[in-house]
Amino acid sequence: MSGAKALISALEKEGVEVIFGLPGGANLPIYDALVGANVRHILVRHEQSASHMADGYARIKRKAGVCFATSGPGATNLVTGIATAYADSSPVVAVTGQVPLNMIGKDAFQETDIIGVANPCTKYAFQPRSPAEIPETVKKAFYIAESGRPGPVLVDIPKDVQTAEAEMKFPDLIKVRGYNPSTEADLSEVGRAVELILKAEKPIIMAGGGVILSGAFAELQALAELLMVPVVTTFKGKGAFPENHPLAMGPIGMHGHAEANKIIIEADCILAIGARFSDRSVGRFDEFGKGMSIIHMDIDPAEIGKNKSVDVAIVGDVKSSLKTLVKLLSKKIPKRASESPWLRRRKELIQYFSETIKDYPRDITAKKSLKKLRELLPAKGIVTTEVGQCQMWASLHFDVIAPGTFFSSTGLGTMGFGFPASIGAKAAAPNVPVVDIAGDGSFNMTENSLAVSVLDKLPVIVFLMNNYMLGMVAQWQRTFYGRRYSGVHQHNCPDYVKIAEAYGAQGIRAQSMTELEKAIKSALKSDVATVIDIPIDPDEDVYPFVAPGTGLKDMIVGG
């Protein structure tokens, strides 16, 4: 069997159903082996979108998404998507072609040292040097990508290794000597956590992306309801907890809810679950958590103490840690009452900020649009976002109800991520409506994926909040550079309705709330992708806002 055939068989054995990719000289044997294979290949228009699609697919399936690219430029085009997946701990297996072994190091045509390039943004990068290594390499790649703290893995296969023949053995089990991801929580540490929680008067749960990655939704809810404590999330953790739940307070951080930012600094004990204390979430490391006890649950031991020293660390899969914690706690306490001074404080803060923060005065605003989308989109609908104000408005004004149905490029902040990722999500969940909450600048970066959405029948909705600007940068220039705009105007921006139509998708412009309502309903019924172009005021800012380098207490509440 050839190396290329072995690759495809190994992928089939891993249960891979969809591959996003684009061929070229160095992966022709792989594409040849795809003919007649039992996998769906989705041809992308740019490899960056292939890696984002694989990422979006992975976040919904919670197993590795796969993308293919040729050597050199194909491989480097994948890198932004790989780095995005790395920053958000998403399992992606990227397979690249490489120049033949005897050409490596000779600056051959389309040669890039992709192993070197990918090293800092993958969990591991393999380069099998003989065809017989391929089955085991693929097995290892999936194991590493999906287990522990998930992440991307690259497999770079020289062209002659793809064509060479060998006797193939497909292992059922593999071991990687230097890799032992921890799963079971240490019981003594859980016991110490229980003590701290029971001692606290104003405890709070801060749920991060780890809750979503491990699917610990029920456990998190059980814990919150047992303790009757407010739940905030990080932005990556948005949707780890139903945002319409009476204990939910939504995301904290740079563009978190004001009441969430306020309450977390008033807490006396923080239970951080699958959250990495990113600067975007907690502001200044030196300020955050002062005078509070901090319990940190995470699967990655290296996250413990990286940004924040903690009182108790529980290392392991957060789902199993939470199970143990809930079990121990429920033995110690009866179910708590739904009224307490601390919960009254929660209500008070929500009330206060809902009266203080005024919506932007215009018929159609980002906030109103997103509330309308929430109203009309079924609870199980999946939402992705682009990057910028659109993303932060989504953080603030779009409540996620069904856990795990929202995701965004939160770690790397990659413009152009949301749209291809939404197509990947649609491939993973074809019967669920999928919406990309977009800004015009971001959508512009990967809008050619409209071709994929239309031709491969993966209809998604692009909810384009169009301010004809690189809005978030413009907001920073308004706020921090005295309105000196530089490089933010999207002059001659295209007509997105026509763009959609040119690709065979549906384009609708919605200039009033009534038009928007109609557009959303039509998009939800459509069997092709729909771009809803919603012109909003370029001056509409996102508030509240925690300026970079400041602490949560310095939040700016309004313009």
């Binding site: 090293n119 969990k123 230097g178 031991p301 290296a302 413990i304 103490g305």
Partner: protein, 178 residues
């Protein structure tokens, strides 16, 4: 890469204070050294010396890393190293319970007979070896703690060191359970 700076010296003449030795067993294959050193750079870890060489096990290499930083940073360094898939085992060595050595080759100007005999004398006291003598120079080999090498270097500096090469620290924990 393998530069060595002076560790802080405690009263017993032993490096003390913020000096740490980390020992790692890694897969013996191409790319591993790159992954490790790239991690140091990317995570902003300040490494003093790193040595890599073969071990009693054919497929494993040992890396000895010394650093002068605070305990939290070293803990984080170890955790990040552990995350590397090619790194099989990492630990911080307890300096009091560790044997460690560095080797230095020092080439000095030595034209006068008196200078030569002085240098040879010093080398003997430091249990060093004379590796090479030319008409105008002497090359000495000194093995020992980085401190000892520093001390020798300070002693002979005024003769004019024309070249110096240090290996970085090699270390093994005492006792059997290693």
């Amino acid at each position: 890469m393998a530069t060595t700076t002076t560790p802080q010296t405690g009263t017993a003449g032993q490096p003390k204070g913020n000096w740490y030795i980390v020992s790692a067993l890694v897969e013996n294959k191409p790319g591993v050294l790159f992954r490790v050193t790239n991690l140091f750079r990317a995570r902003n870890f300040n490494i003093e010396s790193i040595t890599v060489g073969s071990t009693e096990q054919q497929d494993l290499s040992r890396m000895t890393i010394t650093t002068n930083s605070d305990e939290k940073t070293v803990e984080q360094l170890i955790k990040q190293l552990r995350k590397l898939i090619d790194v099989v085992e990492v630990k911080m060595l307890d300096i009091d319970n560790t044997v460690y050595r560095e080797l230095a080759l020092i080439k000095m100007k030595a034209v006068e007979p008196s200078t030569r005999s002085e240098i040879i004398n010093y080398a003997t006291i430091f249990r060093g070896n004379i590796l090479d003598i030319g008409k105008e120079n002497i090359t000495v080999e000194i093995t020992g703690s980085p401190d000892k090498i520093d001390a020798f270097k300070n002693l002979v500096e005024h003769y004019g060191i024309s070249q110096l090469a240090r290996t970085g620290v090699l270390a093994l924990q005492r006792g059997l359970d290693n």
